[in-house]
């Protein structure tokens, strides 16, 4: 697990629980974007936090980026142990069940967003989740993924363009029909 920035003191149990309350939603989403399966993603995130509780670490300078790194590494290990291509689990939603009613009667469902995200390359999915829902900066994202910050920003732009195309009016219905 890579360390992020400067450290000060050990992470207390209460602090770890608070971090879980604050960031577990987006960390599970991030793991979903890697593994495609919510149940497995949930396990990965819990593993990371329980490990932190059992073996206290020094307080990272950017705890959120540290947690993303930990989840990323654990998810990568899980993928290696699976020894197969990961697929999107259609049964478990990643987002709160809601439909955003848009202008001109066009509706984007949770499922169509999930499918649009999954259609992106893995790294673009991860960058999108970290930037949009995790609100991480590109330098922080770059540190998590071990890439250049400019590369992260560039891949994010590609991802956003692809998402926009996937979720364009009428596109979600076509996707649903085609499946």
């Amino acid at each position: 697990m890579r360390a992020n920035g400067l450290f000060s003191g050990l992470l207390e149990r209460e602090e770890i629980e608070r971090l879980y309350r604050e960031h577990s939603r987006v960390l599970v989403l991030f793991a979903c974007a890697t593994l495609g399966e919510r149940a497995r993603a949930q396990d990965i995130v819990q593993q990371v936090f329980l490990r932190l509780m059992e073996r206290p670490v020094r307080r990272p300078d950017n705890p959120q980026a540290y947690l993303f790194t930990a989840v990323h590494n654990t998810a990568r290990n899980e993928m290696r142990s699976l020894r197969r291509m990961v697929e999107l689990d259609e049964t478990q939603p990643w987002f709160e069940e809601q439909c955003l009613d848009g202008v001109a009667g066009d509706v984007v469902s949770e499922q169509s967003l999930r499918r649009a995200l999954w259609s992106l390359p893995e790294e673009q999915r991860q960058i999108t989740v970290m930037h949009i829902w995790g609100e991480l900066t590109f330098p922080a994202i770059a540190e998590v993924l071990g890439i250049n910050a400019n590369t992260a920003a560039s891949r994010y732009r590609y991802a956003l363009a692809a998402l926009r195309q996937q979720m364009a009016p009428g596109r979600s219905t076509q996707n649903a029909d085609s499946r």
Partner: protein
């Protein structure tokens, strides 16, 4: 949802989808039990094996039957304890062990000499 041309507006639209809440963390105590129990069992088994081995090869315990002549053979901790137990005093036990040890000391002999011949040549 109308897909806005502006990236920031599109991001804001995407953020309206909230990630689902995660399951609460399981109690840490249960997780710790997973490794604590096997470790405790292993430690107990090791301690039991160690105790058995110690009793077999180490100091004789209170129930151990000692040979009748505790002074025979080398002076060991077990024999010393037995001698102390059988003698009226500690000094007497030590004297007894010393004498037994001396009695076992044989004079150096050459190949063709008997022990008596060798003793006859010893200077007193």
């Amino acid at each position: 949802m109308q897909i806005p041309d502006d990236d920031r507006q599109f991001e804001a639209e995407l953020r309206r989808f909230a990630p689902r809440a995660a399951e609460p963390l399981p109690p840490i105590r249960i997780i710790r039990v997973r490794w604590r129990v096997p470790v405790a069992v292993a430690a107990t088994v090791l301690a039991a094996i160690g105790t058995i081995l110690w009793h077999m090869h180490g100091t004789p315990g209170p129930g151990t039957v000692l040979p009748a002549d505790v002074s025979a053979g080398e002076v060991t901790l077990g024999r010393a304890q037995a001698a102390v137990a059988q003698s009226p005093s500690f000094e007497a036990a030590i004297d007894g062990l010393e004498q037994a040890s001396r009695s076992r000391t044989k004079p150096k002999t050459h190949k063709n000499q008997s022990a008596l011949q060798a003793l006859g040549r010893e200077e007193l």
